[in-house]
């Protein structure tokens, strides 16, 4: 016999309504809806705000259904006449069981796999879980991880290296108002960017604190490609959607997270152009035709590809993206062509050394929950921007403009062989007597095989006014002598980058 659905049962008539809950998160009861009805509320949106029904994390799709059904009955209307509030995701209720679930060993936590995952394993890549499984470095037989990192860094500085950049966040922003939208999102200027060009951008929250950075590209007049930090992509995407849907719904813009659609490989080093010219391609890779911070679409060995000249190593760099199904083929092809140039794959740890040498900041590592663009030395560029953007007002507060804030600077060990303690506090005395005031801290530290010394980056009080000043870095009861320097330890003029 076919089962028939029962009648809807929204509440128990004849029983005390102040003990019948409709919203289990905000404790809204049938009696609250009765009061709203007595107060002559008609619109369900007003009932929602009067009772707070559906304003907790379920965002209405669960509890508001109960409330509007009761409201319909009390006001003598049908449910469609009462209408619904604006539902937001999740459109379908999610149980705690879905989130918690069972323990399942290796399958307990989701992990993302690169298209070239097996190649990295075969080449001895030391895989690390960054959400994506990514290679830190590729030690050869008998080689330590530190030696492998040094070798990979030097290969990029002197020849050419290849890096799997697939996890780099790729969010597409399309629509007639795309430029206006990004002008409000980024602290720097997005609207003046021409199609085919790229620009580095900083994103702030309402407090003016930097939350992400990355290179954004104008593909066409109404179409942008925004890169964001690999581990922060989902958060940035939600951030953009929230502003678009809740604050600026009138903007004609749509967003799409395209990160997994493309497999990306970065070719970096002074010989990168030589390698790119070995591909069969309709793209002119000469410096004159394709300079730093430019973007091209074209064919790479018969596959439709996107190529961006942007760098996180400080070297001449091409970032090649192809549809993910060709990801492993692209990777193998670069490796095969690059053998003539002694190409070397490099991993995330090697990239961290390369970017520290160049002084490129890593959001969340070199910044904390208080760092603003002004602290990063972006005061002059931002002062030229006349349009409003998220965080702009906060940056005008006197607290944000104080001179004694923590500035982003470079650090250099006085004794070149002495390691800098990551996370160590900047203090002015060699012999520390606790408690002592911290003047900031070391945010990144590594041995630079290029400069043959330990270097670092840090957030230091009044840092920009303290260039070449000797400081001590305190950690674990010891101090290390260091000097405050420019964050750019290497190639200050950017000649390598723009080659």
């Amino acid at each position: 016999m076919r089962q028939q659905p029962g009648d809807a049962y929204w509440y128990t008539r004849g029983a005390p309504t102040d003990k019948q809950w409709l919203d289990f998160q905000y404790d809204v009861k049938v009696s609250d809806i009765e009061l709203a009805n007595r107060e002559n509320f008609v619109s369900i949106e007003h009932v929602k705000r009067f009772t707070t029904n559906g304003m907790s994390v379920d965002q209405g799709k669960t509890s508001n259904v109960n409330a509007l059904a009761v409201m319909a009955e009390l006001s003598g209307r049908r449910i469609p006449e009462v209408g619904t509030t604006k539902f937001r995701p999740p459109y379908h209720p999610v149980t705690l069981g879905t989130i918690a679930g069972q323990r399942r060993g290796e399958a307990y936590l989701p992990r993302q796999i690169l298209p070239a995952h097996d190649w990295h394993i075969d080449q001895g890549g030391v895989m690390q879980d960054y959400g994506w499984m990514r290679p830190d470095c590729y030690p050869q037989v008998g080689e330590s991880e530190q030696a492998a990192i040094d070798r990979e860094v030097m290969a990029v500085r002197n020849g050419v290296g290849m890096f799997d950049a697939t996890p780099l966040g790729k969010i597409e922003v399309k629509g007639a108002d795309a430029a206006i939208f990004l002008q409000r999102i980024y602290a720097n200027n997005a609207r003046s960017l021409k199609p085919g060009f790229a620009r580095y951008g900083l994103m702030c929250n309402e407090n003016g604190v930097v939350i992400d950075d990355g290179v954004f590209v104008r593909l066409t007049e109404d179409h942008f490609l925004c890169h964001c930090t690999s581990g922060n992509t989902a958060r940035v995407y939600q951030w953009l959607e929230e502003w678009l849907q809740c604050e600026w719904p009138s903007l004609r813009v749509a967003l799409s997270n395209q990160t997994s659609q493309w497999a990306s490989a970065t070719v970096s080093g002074p010989r990168a152009r030589e390698l790119m010219r070995l591909f069969e391609s309709d793209i002119d890779f000469s410096c004159k035709a394709f300079s730093h911070m430019q973007f091209r679409s074209g064919q790479i060995d018969g596959v439709a590809a996107r190529v961006l000249r942007a760098s996180f190593t400080g070297e001449l760099t091409y970032e090649i993206s192809v549809p993910a199904r060709y990801g492993l083929s692209l990777w193998k092809r670069i490796d095969a062509l690059g053998q003539a140039l002694n190409i070397v794959p490099y991993g995330v740890e090697s990239l961290m050394v390369l970017r520290t040498e160049k002084g490129y900041l890593h959001i969340g590592v070199d910044t904390d929950g208080t760092t603003t663009p002004l602290d990063l030395g972006w005061g002059a560029p931002l002062s030229k921007k006349t349009d409003d953007f998220i965080g702009a007002r906060s940056l005008l507060r006197s607290h944000d403009q104080r001179n004694d804030r923590l500035h982003f600077v470079g650090l250099q060990a006085i004794d070149s062989g002495q390691s800098l303690p990551l996370g160590g506090h900047i203090v002015s005395q060699v012999n520390v007597e606790l408690p002592m005031e911290s003047q900031g801290y070391c945010t990144s530290a590594c041995y630079s095989p290029t400069l043959k010394r330990w270097i670092g980056l840090g957030l230091v009080s009044c840092g920009r006014e303290r260039m070449n000043e000797s400081v001590s870095i305190f950690a674990n009861g010891k101090t290390v002598a260091a000097k405050v320097v420019s964050p750019t330890h290497l190639d200050v003029k950017g000649e390598r980058l723009n080659a």
Partner: protein
């Protein structure tokens, strides 16, 4: 890639190349649906005119949490003002893009960013329900239902295609994880 073997790989290849179909006894079956053409269709300003134009080009649009099939195209409701258009392997994505070129609709090709598995068997909803909050009871999640929800900690589109056939679609990078998770689900039922 020209001049070398051009390997076009789906997300779970090559790791699972030796075992393209997961089959446990006769109770259930998991197989990848390869190289579907997938287009994300976002309407910026929804009104009756746009809806009529979309219907004219694509056929009747699905209701919320459902899918429809017309002329080899499958159209899924994703969220208000957003649909997913799916073409079988070999389908021309560009045809759909051209078809809708004059409409104020934004289309993104996301074929390479998704992996789709076909799941068959009475045991399928039971396995999915282990880490899915959706009511997958056959009388509730009926044939034609299509919902984006959370399964095994992932954002997954769950579709009931036929009485015993379901499809799940997710970010391609999670394909291997899902396969292994589902395999473990099978093993639970084997033990029982």
């Amino acid at each position: 890639m020209r001049n070398v073997e051009k390997e076009i790989l789906t997300p779970i290849q090559p790791r699972l190349r030796a075992r393209p179909v997961l089959e446990v006894r006769a109770e259930g079956r998991l197989v990848e649906r390869k190289f579907l053409g997938i287009l994300r269709l976002q309407v910026i300003e929804w009104d009756n005119v746009i809806q009529a134009q979309l219907c004219e080009h694509l056929g009747t649009l699905p209701e919320a949490s459902a899918f429809v099939e017309h002329h080899g195209l499958r159209i899924h409701w994703i969220s208000p003002k957003e649909y997913l258009v799916i073409l079988e392997e070999g389908g021309d994505e560009q045809c759909v893009i051209d078809l809708l070129a004059d409409l104020p609709v934004l289309i993104s090709v996301i074929s390479d960013s998704r992996i789709t598995f076909s799941l068959k068997g009475e045991v399928v909803p039971k396995i999915l329900a282990q880490r899915c909050g959706l009511d997958l009871h056959p009388s509730v999640f009926v044939v034609g239902c299509s919902t984006v929800t959370r399964v095994a900690g992932l954002s997954v589109m769950v579709v009931r295609v036929d009485s015993l056939v379901y499809e799940v679609s997710m970010d391609r990078s999670y394909g291997q994880y899902f396969w292994e998770w589902f395999e473990q689900g099978f093993s639970c039922f084997e033990m029982s």
